[in-house]
Symmetry: C2
Subunit: 153 residues, 2 copies
């Protein structure tokens, strides 16, 4: 995608900035073995329902891959899904709602596709992907923090 | 590493299978912003202590990369670490003990390095990496389960 936008901030008011933003393909992985953490152990698994809802939220669009996975290992915090992208962090989410959170996963995947630093932005991140964060992992090639770096920035 | 093993399963009893197994480089990512989930919010962060213990468990060996990361997002289930490998699943662990679990992370990384299917084996997996599993995510290129596949194998 090529985007032309009026310059702001560091470029000063009125400067024109031409930015090439490549929307990178993102993947939503939905765990189909998940039960909701509030459901009894013999209740039907709702993971496939979340997978269908996510696919429906994508509709006819083809900019996001929605894949079913057996299993994300986040079993006691289900329902679960992950967002993945090449050269970016991977995000795992839990406590998702099969009736309501399919659109949030697609919106999150599209936000992630536009990220320039490989992180899923907090701003504009759908609420279920804020409160449901389980873990995030940097991409292969991540250099690590140096030994003398502080624990927090 | 080259391994010769007697064929089993699909190859039939007695068939001889010659397999070339390359031990693939693995990475342990240790979260340095983590506090133990049982520690008060103003207690010193023990993530760096786990990172040092993991590095010490590696010692002079150089077959595993131990990297510090700020932060794995698994904050309420710390201490946290992840195991990563190219073309393999990524594993996130929580509730780790800074005094005892560094060697388990190195042993897990070495077990993972020998995996032929990209999964961290359950057998011989160190106990802290069994009970502390938080999530696992398949590698990029994972094709997904087909829509009509059952929820469990």
């Amino acid at each position: 995608m090529i985007s032309f936008e009026a310059g702001r901030g560091a470029l000063g008011t009125g400067a024109m900035r031409v930015t090439t933003i490549s929307a990178v393909r993102t993947t939503v992985l939905v765990c189909i073995t998940c039960r909701a953490s509030t459901d009894p152990a013999d209740a039907p698994r709702k993971g496939p329902q979340l997978a269908r809802a996510t696919q429906q939220a994508l509709g006819e669009a083809a900019d996001v891959d929605v894949l079913r996975v057996r299993c994300l290992g986040n079993c006691s915090r289900g329902l679960s899904a992950a967002l993945c992208r090449e050269k970016a962090w991977t995000y795992v989410f839990g406590h998702l709602d099969p009736d309501n959170d399919g659109p949030a996963l697609i919106a999150g995947a599209r936000l992630f596709a536009e990220s320039v630093d490989g992180l899923l932005p907090w701003r504009n991140r759908p609420e279920p992907l804020k409160r449901g964060l389980i873990a995030r992992v940097p991409p292969l090639g991540f250099p690590g923090e140096p030994p003398d770096s502080p624990e927090t920035p």
